[in-house]
Subunit: 161 residues, 2 copies
Amino acid sequence: MAQEAQAENGSNASPVVFAAVKPWLVVEAPKANDAVQFYKAAFGAEEVNRVNHPKRKAEQELPLVLSAELKLGSSSIVVSDLTDDAPAPVKSAVSGSVFCLETEDVEAAVSKAVAAGAVAEGEISEGEGACCGGRVGRVKDPYGNVWLICSPSKKCADVAA
Amino acid sequence: MAQEAQAENGSNASPVVFAAVKPWLVVEAPKANDAVQFYKAAFGAEEVNRVNHPKRKAEQELPLVLSAELKLGSSSIVVSDLTDDAPAPVKSAVSGSVFCLETEDVEAAVSKAVAAGAVAEGEISEGEGACCGGRVGRVKDPYGNVWLICSPSKKCADVAA
């Protein structure tokens, strides 16, 4: 199964093609449904799919969310409830990452997120780097995730020179 | 600045449009360059932009990476070195998330990632949920990030019913 020698370096001639990266956000149960509502209100996300936890349907008023997929621009994110019997990938879902959201109107986007319940962190400033090379604001959502709201970089050529 | 009453709920009539979500991976300095090479080898990522840390260029052989942007399918991820004087967003870049990579050939993708230095965690199995509704493998990369390698779901309608 794809154990060709070329796979040792894996830099070319591989048939593996990925469609996209989908960040998966795990929130303390049963807050995933709230989180979905928040991402709709704060970022204009659109829910495209949801699977509830089958074991919980009869026990609780609010079914736990095994995963809800939200479309956000050209990307998708997935939101899940973290529970004691969550699937293994969910239970150990902690990594070092923040999420950049690129938009032309940073101020409006930050205001909208804050109106929806996010907390603005710091002032909107000039960013550095590939993700946030223009203006960048920063908000923390109610579930502990940090989102950078960035305008597209207009100075990459200068900075890299 | 976009403080209209409608922003209170933020669910409609807003001019805010996001292009995409870019997950930002922060790795212990100076491993970001290694991480970029790893993502190229493991996942076929293509580097589209890099900004080095301006203060470090003269002091160190290997310039620290302020941010490197990698294209991975239709998505972009950003990789940065975490340093004591990193920009604030980078320093507090810890959130609860994993990354789903959707592909038709889960076995080949896991093999390629492992050949490049990732560690497979568990067996490839049937997934549950919106992100990994088909077959799903799981690898941890050398920088602590968990990636789920998933085939597209073919049973969402069944599960949701």
